[in-house]
């Protein structure tokens, strides 16, 4: 198959998808894979909410329930959110900086195709004797080590996911540092590119630490080492320190690209340049730096000295400052803007409001003395779901609506998009808001049964959960319908959106920016034009 002209895509499934080195095709693969995982992890969440619909044990065994909570988290974190952002990075970053492709296209192919194998390994544990990992996604020893045969599968799956994200991150760094069009400086780059650059550095810094932690689990279990085994002079708390040294930057890995997406969308529909571009860049870098020095706020209850608790408490609260800068900048961007409310904008607005709620409950839990009450209750479940679902997931959905015309060449149905938005936004709040109250009232997380006084809020939460799940099935319908046909999208699908991606035709040709040369900086999204 030769490339006779620029728009000739390789023919046949194997050539087009299995062997692809094209950033757009790999981006699509990532997004489709992430969506499949989102539905899989979502189905598990439905089982969890079904069991919690009423007190008592109705549908599943407690052990299977624990497998569901563990697998739901692992699949959503490593299978849905992270790959979805890598997919967006693949599609958009080269087009946003005037590059023909990613810097390391073959590695790009490899980093994607590892993922199905990683999740096949992880998923296969569901069908084993003893079932899937059930000790929670945080994999704390000694509990996780009692998990039967799945331990090795879990560890190797995490290794593969780690290798995949490290390769993806290196590719993003190499592309942004070396492939920008000659006149695009760092401070001309769109914020999505900036947030991804910083995310990629976080990834290469912390994924190896996670790989080390799970390797220690593996050797503790199978090779007689005693990293976390008290009988051999080890310490289980050590695992928590290593895990959260990875884990806290990890939560920013999942949210920084969302900040980038929202920073692209809000200026487009407010018809104003992004307020405080440079402060946005510094705030992102500040959040990334702080993420490395606050990890033990996940462990206030393990018994730290007072000095440690105070340090981690104040350091954690400091994160609210750069995050506040970002929230205020988005609001200032909209201030006196000629706003319209297309679906991507609606999801972005919901992101700003609902992510902030999640941020506030985060500040509450940063306070060590009160965290002792919130620890391991539904309050923390409500908190991280607020920042991850109407946070990260809403940003991904917003990005999908925003760039779908560029990817598919068709406009989605605005009416269906709006239905999807209201349906999701109302149900997500019905789903997660009552969990705050459950947590404050003392309902512990990761349990299949509960005391009857928690019944009403759990039922409410479950109803919201089923509605939210169904809304995402509706989203599949909207996306498939848009890809198959619909109103032709203009090159600049939103009329006057800024950004180099809007200077190429819709759908974006298989190859863009093939000739390396200067680009028109005035068309860049919102970087400073020096």
């Amino acid at each position: 198959m030769g490339h006779d002209s620029h728009d000739h895509k390789p023919k046949g499934f194997v050539n087009r998808w299995l062997m692809t080195t094209n950033h757009k095709d790999i981006g699509t693969l990532y997004l489709v894979f992430a969506f499949a995982m989102f539905i899989t992890g979502g189905a598990m969440a439905m089982i969890i909410r079904l069991e919690l619909f009423q007190p008592g044990l109705q549908f599943v065994e407690p052990d299977f329930f624990n497998q569901m909570t563990t697998m739901h988290a692992l699949i959503m974190v490593f299978g849905a959110v992270m790959p979805a952002f890598v997919g967006l990075a693949n599609w958009m970053i080269p087009m946003m900086i005037g590059a023909p492709d990613m810097a390391l296209p073959r590695m790009n192919n490899w980093s994607f195709w590892i993922l199905p194998f990683a999740f096949a390994l992880l998923g296969s544990t569901l069908f084993m004797d003893g079932g899937a990992p059930a000790g929670g996604w945080t994999m704390y020893p000694p509990l996780v080590l009692q998990g039967g045969k799945n331990v090795a599968y879990l560890v190797f799956a995490v290794h593969l996911m780690g290798i995949s994200s490290i390769m993806g991150a290196i590719n993003v760094i190499a592309t942004i540092m070396n492939m920008r069009a000659p006149n695009v400086g760092y401070l001309n780059m769109p914020l999505f590119v900036w947030t991804w650059l910083i995310t990629a550095f976080l990834l290469i810094a912390v994924m190896p630490v996670l790989a080390g932690a799970v390797t220690m689990l593996l050797t503790d279990r199978y090779f007689g080492t005693s990293f976390f085994n008290a009988a051999g002079g080890g310490d289980p708390v050590l695992f928590q320190h290593i895990f959260w040294f990875f884990g806290h930057p990890e939560v920013y890995i999942m949210i920084l690209p969302s900040f980038g997406v929202v920073s692209e969308i809000i200026p487009t529909f407010a018809r104003k340049p992004l307020f405080g571009y440079v402060s946005m860049v510094y705030a992102t870098a500040g959040i990334a730096f702080l993420s490395f020095i606050v990890w033990a706020h996940h462990m206030f209850s393990v018994g730290m000295p007072l000095g440690g608790e105070l340090y981690f408490m104040y350091a954690t609260m400091m994160i609210a400052v750069p995050t506040g800068v970002k929230i205020f900048n988005w609001v200032a961007t909209m201030w006196k803007g000629a706003m319209t409310f297309e679906t991507p904008m609606l999801f972005s607005l919901a992101f700003v409001v609902l992510f902030t709620i999640g941020g506030f409950s985060g500040v509450m839990m940063a306070l060590a003395p009160v965290d002792l009450q919130y620890h391991d209750t539904y309050f923390i479940v409500a908190h991280f779901h607020y920042v991850l679902v109407p946070g990260a997931i809403f940003a991904i959905i917003a990005a999908a609506y925003y760039w779908l015309p560029k990817w598919s060449g068709h406009m989605y149905s605005e009416r269906l998009g709006k239905i999807h938005f209201w349906w999701s936004t109302i149900s997500v709040n019905v789903l997660f808001f009552p969990q705050h109250f459950l947590g404050l009232a003392g309902m512990p997380r990761r349990i299949p049964d509960y005391s009857t006084q928690f019944a009403e809020f759990n039922m409410m939460s479950s109803i919201g959960g089923f509605a939210f799940g169904l809304a995402q099935v509706f989203f599949i319908y909207i996306v498939v319908k848009t890809v198959r046909g619909g109103k032709k999208a203009e090159a600049n699908a939103w009329g006057d959106a800024k950004g180099l991606e809007w200077t190429v035709p819709s759908p974006a040709p298989h190859h863009t920016f093939d000739e390396f040369g200067p680009v028109d900086l005035k068309k860049m999204a919102h970087g400073e034009v020096h």
Binding site: G212, M216, F227, L238
Partner: protein
């Protein structure tokens, strides 16, 4: 692959390798920090220098409570002979635990000590302890296990009660090689 991309790739891979190493470096680092601060209740081993430094104040009294538990997969019963004891900081004392193997086969156990409150653990030193080595009990055998300890005289004022707690772990299912390595365990404890 152009030269700059290659350079970036190399640098990134270096970061990955270094951070992988850092993950493992956290293991000794954690032990060092716990040793210095007494976090996790890790206790010390008394030596001549420490014993020579003690200034005994005969009027000061501190209560040491004793606690013993067995890890779930160890078929032993294990309890202190006496649940608490009044001690004078700076003086040496001996306390006893009683362990019995209730299984029908030989079992090797390893005890791991911990002192609460954490701040007190760095002032609690042992000269002799059953936790220094692995213990073998025959089926049904019962054994008195002594621990000789000193609460250092520089124990901060305000700490009046210390709890010494032992957890016994099963080490029988470990490989033969490791059974002989029991002695290196106590150095870390």
């Amino acid at each position: 692959m152009d030269v700059n991309t290659k350079k970036t790739l190399k640098k990134c891979l270096m970061v990955v390798v270094l951070m992988g190493g850092f993950g493992y470096a956290l293991v000794p680092l954690y032990d060092v920090i716990c040793d210095i601060t007494g976090l996790n209740g890790k206790t010390g081993v008394a030596n001549e220098q420490i014993l020579a430094r003690q200034v005994v104040d005969e009027t000061r009294r501190v209560t040491v409570q004793f606690d013993g538990t067995v890890n779930s997969d160890l078929p032993w019963s294990f309890r202190p002979a006496k649940f608490s004891m009044e001690v004078i900081p700076g003086k040496m004392y001996t306390a006893e635990y009683i362990a019995q193997n209730v299984a029908s086969k030989e079992v090797i156990g390893q005890a791991v000590p911990s002192v609460a409150p954490n701040e007190a653990s760095i002032y609690f030193d042992k000269t002799e302890c059953f936790c220094f080595t692995q213990q073998l009990l025959k089926p049904g055998e019962s054994k008195n296990m002594p621990v000789t300890f000193i609460v250092r005289s520089d124990l901060p004022e305000g700490i009046d009660v210390l709890t010494l707690s032992y957890t016994f772990f099963n080490r029988s299912n470990m490989t033969a090689d490791e059974k002989t390595q029991g002695s290196d365990v106590h150095e870390k404890i």
